[in-house]
Every structure is written in structure tokens, then in C-alpha cells.
Symmetry: C2
Subunit: 211 residues, 2 copies
DNA sequence: TAAAATTCGTTATTATCTGATAAAATTAGT
DNA sequence: ACTAATTTTATCAGATAATAACGAATTTTA
């Protein structure tokens, strides 16, 4: 039986990967899978898979394994992917436009409904049917539209200014591409994507192997 | 005294953040800092800072703390940021172009020297002085140019095809934006940036707080 | 139908990571 | 020069996470 105790971040970070592999299995018409079989595909221990999944419920069956479709749907629910979300991008530069242009987020239920920038040359530009608006209108937009997640794709100083506006107007999640740590209340989630940091990890590893 | 034992990934992941904070201190003209002071700024424990840094050497001084500039330079060296790297981007779509356009990587020594795509409409396009080349030329390019890091910004099936070409031609690091796990030899580093995964973590957290 | 093989859920063990503390070294004030 | 305050280094204890082991339930096979 599973308990309701706190789930660690490490487990949560693994869920999307399980979800992806299960999706691939579904695509290949595989209807059942054992933790052992899955562990070989994913290069993790079977024990970890069983323990991770067991945190959320007893989805498997002894002697059988896991029903792929059932497990896929369960993880989808756990991750909140059975719902859809409205996102606004702040920063209409290269990255902001690239994110808006990438169609796969929409397929998963993450819908970009607006982009904001302060650069007059960008304002009015149309990205995938979404017009870039003046960032001065952001607060008003948040008050009149339901926005779940704010995407910060702008220089760090600006990101620090914009974050409170998002937080104070009901945004519950921030996807932060700016190279700065944001200080927000506990009930707001910040997910950092510090691209420079991950590049640095590569350079560390490259050199470490050589030495 | 510090030992040469294996450094854990958890520590490495924290280094870029230390580096960033030290850079900010330098910019503000702060020349010395204690682990205690830094811990308050970074919202981590002083103990962790000291232990992390101590893995690489004794950079601090009892009664004084750490010399900001010295520590900054040390971490720079540890991360391999005192060298520069040549990168090629495979995938000239929105993301590939956005990465190439973002100037800050170059400042850190990460130089994009080529972009490849198989789409004839993109080939020949000029991004920040770098022409998009036909991906068919990739292998030849790798043989005649020194490339440290390959950036995969293309659909997952294509990424799986391209990865071996990079590996077999001396590329030591792969920055993988494709939503797939790559199978490469141990001496090649893969750093995954699975954007969808991090979005899913936000949706999980948003819902968790509500329930 | 019954025995053998699977495979999960759970408990136990091991490993790792984090936080706290004592000892040593340095600085700063008097 | 001497003392008090500071702060690192090194060590140790506690917490957390990952792996392994095992009993119970189910399926498969003969």
C-alpha cells in the first residue's frame, strides 16, 4: 500500500522519462512490461522503477508486470498532463520566438497565448498567430486572462523585475531561462533552465576525462 | 588537505552557480567573502559551500574567508572555462538559430562555428555570420575542423542518426536538446536539455500544491 | 491441474549526501 | 604583543536516496 508522504524531487525528475519510454512502448504496440525489462531499456535498476512507481500507487501486478497503457495514463495524471495550461512568454527575442514556434508543447497541453517585449521593433510581430505585445500591458493582460505559467526569456535584470508582476497576478509557475535566481513565494514554482550552466558541465567533463 | 577522490555530479552541478555568484560579487567590488555570508546570499548552508569547494583544494583561509577573485578564477579553471571550445549546431530550425544568435555563449568561450540542416530552404541562410550548411557535409566538416561539442537541436529520430557521426569524428561533448536518450561511449559526455521534461515538472508542482 | 517461473510490493541494507561540531589558523582590536 | 572574534578545515553524526533481498501473488508451462 502506498503512503502519502512527501515525494522527493529526484523521483519527480524521473517521471517524465518513464512517461516518455512508456509512450514509445505504446507506439510500438507493446502492451505489458516488467520493471526488469524496462530497467534494461532505460539503464536504471528495476528496484528503482518499482520503488518510484510505488510512491504513487500499486500499478503493477505480480507475475505480470505493468500494463503499459494504464501506467502511461497514471503517470500522465500524476504529472498533471491530463489538464492544459496557458503560458505567456516574456521576452520576444530569439529564444522566446523559438519556444513559441516549437509546436510540440501545444500537443502536450501547454499553450502559449501571448508574448511580451519592450522593444518597439518586435511589438506587433506575429509568431504562429500570436502577436508580440508591449510588456507594459503584461499586468493588465494577467488580470483579464487566466495564465498558469510565465516563461522568462529575457536578460537577468529584467527577469527580476518581471517575476513579481507574474507572482502578484496569480501565475503559479515560472519557467526561467534567465541566468538569475528568482526569489518568489513558496506557492509559486520556479523551474530554471540555465543553459550556460549545462554547457559548463560539459566543459568540466571534457577536461576531466583528458586530465 | 584535499583528496583526489571522485567528485559527485551533485557537486559539479552546483559549481556554475557558485561561479555566477562570485562573478556578481566581483562586479560589485567585493574582494572577500566568508562561507557564512555567501550561504545567506545563495540560500544554501555554509557547510555545504565549504565542503564543495574543499573537494578541489583549500581555497579559503581561516579567519579570513575566501578571496573572491582567486576563488572565481579557481572555479573557472575547474569548470574548464579558461579554455575555449568550438561547437557545431545540428538543426537550423528555431532553436538552433536561437542558440546561434545568443551572444553570451561566445563571451564564455563557447564558439559556434557551423550550423547544419538538411532542409534546402535553410541551407545557405546566414546566422550571425555563420552559414547554414547541408548536413551531408557534416562528417567532412568534422574531419577538417576541430570541433569539441555538438549541439543537437533536431527531431529525435534524426538526433539518433547524427550522434554516431559526431562520436566517430572526435566530438567529446554533446549538448542534446532532442527529446531522446542517446547511447554513446563512456568517453563522450552527453548533457540533456529536455525542455518538455522541465515543463512537466512545473505542471506536477502546480497541481500538487492545489490538491 | 499442478509445478515452475515471473514479477511486484515491501523490507532491509548499503551508499551517498547534507548538516553540525571541534580543532586549528588567521585577523583585528587594544 | 596579546587576546578575542572570526572562519576555515577536518571529522562525525544524521538524513536521505539507491540498491539488494525476499515473501506473496500471478502467470505460464507441462
Amino acid at each position: 500500500m502506498y503512503t502519502d508522504k512527501k515525494i522527493s524531487v529526484a523521483v519527480i525528475k524521473r517521471l517524465p522519462r518513464y512517461y516518455r519510454y512508456l509512450g514509445d512502448l505504446l507506439d510500438n504496440g507493446i502492451t505489458r512490461i516488467s520493471s526488469n525489462d524496462l530497467s534494461k531499456r532505460m539503464h536504471v535498476t528495476a528496484s528503482q522503477i518499482r520503488q518510484d512507481l510505488n510512491k504513487f500507487g500499486c500499478f503493477g501486478q505480480q507475475g505480470y508486470g505493468y500494463n503499459v497503457e494504464l501506467l502511461y495514463e497514471e503517470i500522465k495524471k500524476i504529472l498533471g498532463l491530463d489538464k492544459s495550461y496557458n503560458l505567456v512568454i516574456i521576452g520576444g527575442g530569439n529564444l522566446g520566438q523559438a519556444l513559441a514556434n516549437y509546436g510540440n508543447f501545444g500537443k502536450r497541453g501547454f499553450n502559449f497565448i501571448a508574448i511580451f517585449d519592450r522593444n518597439p521593433k518586435l511589438i506587433g510581430l506575429n509568431i504562429r498567430g500570436i502577436e508580440i505585445l508591449d510588456v507594459a500591458e503584461l499586468e493588465n493582460f494577467l488580470k483579464t486572462n487566466h495564465v498558469d505559467i510565465g516563461v522568462l526569456a529575457l536578460p537577468k535584470d529584467n527577469a527580476k523585475q518581471v517575476a513579481p508582476i507574474l507572482v502578484n497576478n496569480g501565475v503559479k509557475g515560472i519557467w526561467n531561462f534567465s541566468h538569475v535566481d528568482l526569489d518568489v513565494p513558496d506557492n509559486v514554482v520556479v523551474e530554471n533552465v540555465h543553459l550556460t550552466d549545462s554547457l559548463m558541465q560539459i566543459s568540466y567533463a571534457i577536461n576531466g576525462d583528458i586530465e
